[in-house]
């Protein structure tokens, strides 16, 4: 397929790898922020072919994984309200909350529906004017504009039975939080290609300016990721820290202005709770006052009670890159994709799911 096959070319990958092997002298740890990168890295066996000096670690870029228990519990409680249809992306369904999941709520009679797009939630709202449709809004800057666009569409159509529970999160503040914590000792960051398609490569310049950490924005094919690693190795081996855009077929310095305009028209930044990072200032997106009538939190006040932690689950440490999944005692034993305990084993982007599915083919 065009723009996929060319960026998987084995010959070009080999020369990129040779280049990396020739230059990666000192040991370095890079973090791929995005869970999509984690899965691409495992799927294509890239850890296996990189030199032993280059270590890649997963970051917090899995929206399902970083959703806080209290927020998930609230979503589950909302789904059980009479007349409600809760719509969500599929990954959220199996994530265990304090007392069950959206899937168990559905089994007990709640009307929980998996959608591919917010457009599907809009259609459900049109078809069921007598019902209250809640869209569970998880995702980063890539997804939030699609939700904002759908809210504007609902407003234009006068659809008053659709609300959004906005758990959207912003990636640069989370990256700051990880670097401020100082525990991951990163020599570079592989920047999320599709988030950056929206926010622009300029949004990452704080990494080199404030933290002297290099950043390479990457697409999701093997050549994209290897190019980013090569650029980071270059900078780690004596180059100046900067933001390098290796995904220029999609990412522009200023991002997608149309998407950012729509995003900012509907949402404003707010503090947000992240699994593993705690409360991060200005890292969430709340509906602006003008669109408060679309806010599910205001429309459906619920009290799900105190959260209950899952003993032993180390998802919080995994999303910070502080531990690798096999360091969790539950990994592959009590916690598997069939019976997940933590969200990192549930999501298609979770680090634990990647390690479980593809095995440890690294060189640690």
């Amino acid at each position: 397929m065009k723009y996929i096959d060319e960026f998987r070319d084995p010959t070009l990958a080999s020369s990129l790898l040779a280049d990396i092997h020739a230059r990666a002298a000192r040991p370095v740890r890079f973090m791929e922020f995005c869970g999509g990168h984690t899965h691409a890295i495992f799927r294509h066996g890239l850890r296996q072919v990189l030199p032993p000096t280059v270590q890649l670690h997963s970051g917090p870029g899995c929206p399902v994984c970083v959703t806080a228990d209290a927020d998930l519990d609230r979503a589950i409680a909302m789904s059980k309200l009479p007349g409600v249809i809760l719509t969500t992306f599929g990954d959220m369904l199996k994530v265990p909350g304090s007392h069950g999941s959206l899937q168990t709520a559905k089994a007990e009679g709640a009307d929980v529906r998996v959608v591919y797009s917010t457009l599907d939630a809009l259609q459900i709202a049109r078809e069921h004017p007598e019902r209250k449709i809640i869209f569970l809004g998880i995702g980063f800057e890539t997804t939030a504009p699609t939700v904002a666009a759908s809210i504007l569409q609902a407003e234009a159509e006068g659809l008053h039975n659709l609300t959004v529970f906005s758990l959207h999160k912003l990636t640069p503040p989370a990256t700051r939080a990880i670097l401020d914590a100082g525990e991951s000792r990163l020599a570079g960051i592989i920047g999320p290609g599709h988030v950056t398609t929206i926010i622009g490569s300029q949004a990452w310049e704080f990494l080199s300016q404030d933290y002297h950490v290099p950043c390479a924005i990457a697409g999701f094919e093997p050549l994209d990721i290897l190019q980013a690693v090569a650029a980071l190795v270059d900078m780690a081996e004596g180059g100046q820290p900067a933001v390098v855009n290796t995904y220029s077929r999609s990412v522009r310095p200023e991002g997608n202005r149309a998407a950012l305009d729509i995003l900012c028209r509907v949402f404003e930044t707010s503090d947000a709770e992240w699994r593993g990072l705690g409360r991060v200032p200005a890292s969430g997106l709340a509906l602006r006052h003008e669109y408060a009538h679309f806010d599910a939190v205001l429309a459906f006040p619920v009290d799900p009670g105190p959260t209950r932690q899952h003993t032993g689950c180390r998802c919080g440490d995994v999303v910070r890159g502080a531990v690798e999944p096999p360091e969790c005692l539950l990994f592959g034993r009590a916690c598997t994709p069939a019976r997940p305990i933590g969200p990192c084993m549930v999501s298609a982007e979770g680090a634990c799911a990647a390690w479980y599915q593809y095995g440890d083919i690294g060189h640690e």
């Binding site: 397929m1 070009l12 020369s15 999509g36 599709h194 077929r249 982007e349």
Partner: protein, 89 residues
Amino acid sequence: MCLAVPTLIKSIEGDMALAELGGVERTISLTLTPEARVGDYVLIHTGFAISVVDADEAQETLRLLTELAASYPDETNGNLQSTISNQRS
């Protein structure tokens, strides 16, 4: 979650378009990429185009990588290549 796939725009009606990927057609929204035209490849994320693929930039990236490959002629049939090939799925 942030998955986005390059998809060819076949036709446009208002801010919606018919797009084709691997023989499968589906309706997508162009609300976030009003500059998209028929014949463009766009990256589709949850039913919305989030960017128009820049064909010149893609070509330039591949040209630079081909240049790099020319400086590593011994690697074109090496073990690294076969490892990558085996991992493809």
